[in-house]
Amino acid sequence: MTTVLFDVTGPRGRRRQLWYTVLASIVLTGLAAWILRELWKQEQITPDQWEAFVQPAIASALLEGLVDTLSAAVAAIALALIFGAVLAAGRLSEHKWLRWPSHAIVEFFRAVPLLLLILFLYLSVVGDRVGSFWTLVLAIMLCHGAVMAEIFRAGLQSVPRGQTEAGYAIGLRKSRVMVLILAPQTVRSMLPAIIAQLVVVLKDTALGYIIGAPGVVNVAERIYISPEYRNPLAVGIFLAAVFFIINYALSKVAVGLEARLRRKGGGTIQLQHVRGVRR
């Protein structure tokens, strides 16, 4: 970590840091207390704002919505992995007629905002055919497939050249080298990056409510627009908490996995070195 920025302090420095620590704690606690008090005074977090969440019918609807959100995320990431693998294979191909289109597709979907793509698919024939849930899944698949392709490409290129050459030397063809030698070595190093991308996919599924796809945000929106509750802040805080808990757990898994792989001596793909990662 960055402890190198400051020395192990002597008695005077320690006393000064203690003062700053106390001061910072007071200021930060004061700030938090003031925000909570204001929220309470304006009746945004008073008990009546949370009543909706304990109604059995609403609670079960929220739970169902969460299941829909999670299934959309799982379906989207599975499809994005497949689409990404195809695109990455295309980009690394020896044939120009495969390399160029794959390159163009990756660049295009990396530049398009996901919401624009969702709206486009929803208003096009796709939306009519498959409905809002699968429109959302398909849009995420296209956008994140392009990101996955870049992660795969970075992973495949990180394997030392000698490995590929050794494969050719024993008479393997290119596809065999890819499947038998490169892929098994890269899957491990890409795993943390893929799990980290899962967090982004889960956040992106929240966009589905804009086209009315089933999901937890969709259910929650109906709570705060109903004249009975009208509690957007309480609902927003609830939604943020739900996504935070799931995503925080996922990112901890990704970080833990990365640390474990590094201890075992394998390198990992750093997401921030992959171009055009979505956030």
Binding site: F6, G236, R275
Partner: protein, 218 residues
Amino acid sequence: MNPEYLSVLVDQLSEGFLVTLQLLGLSAMFATVLGTLLGAMRVSPIAPLRAAGAAYVEVFRNTPLVVLFILAVVGLPELGLLRDSFFSRAVVALSLYTAAFVCEVLRSGINTVEPGQAEAARAIGMGFGGTLGLVVLPQAVRAVIPPLVSVYMALSKNTAVAAAFGITEATYQFKQLVEEFPGSLYYNFLGIALGYALIVGALSIIGHLLEQRLVTAR
């Protein structure tokens, strides 16, 4: 394609992308300021500041942008804040969200600077502020530019979410155009996608230029 469509398309797109660029510029500015502050907090010797910075990053990075938009655009007026400007509330949501990523980029950039540099700064008697501001940050900037540019690229795409909350930026114009001219779906999509691609491309070029300038400066 009728000529009326073309002129309306050009009008609406230029209007929409102007708003998109305003959203991008203002949010990028606020996010950078807040993110730098948070980054400094996260590497400071004061434990509560470090904890607060880390908590901010974890909360805002793991919450969907749409949820932040609900909180800011629908929620803030309930508190009597920024009542009359949808635009400022959208900027609030985008800035708070992006600041978390700016902070992380800066923090990992600070970690790329050789520890010997900070040690040397301390050896000649510089304090935390001097070490960070005069020695470490100027060197971290170079390592930080590519990931920082990719944060701004993500931000430029994220501004599209504002369309769902009534801000008349480029993606909002897409919906409008499709309603006005039923047969124009594909042209609208390609036109607007091209606009975003231009913004992203421009950011990438600016990043490259900056990077080159700073490489020679060392």
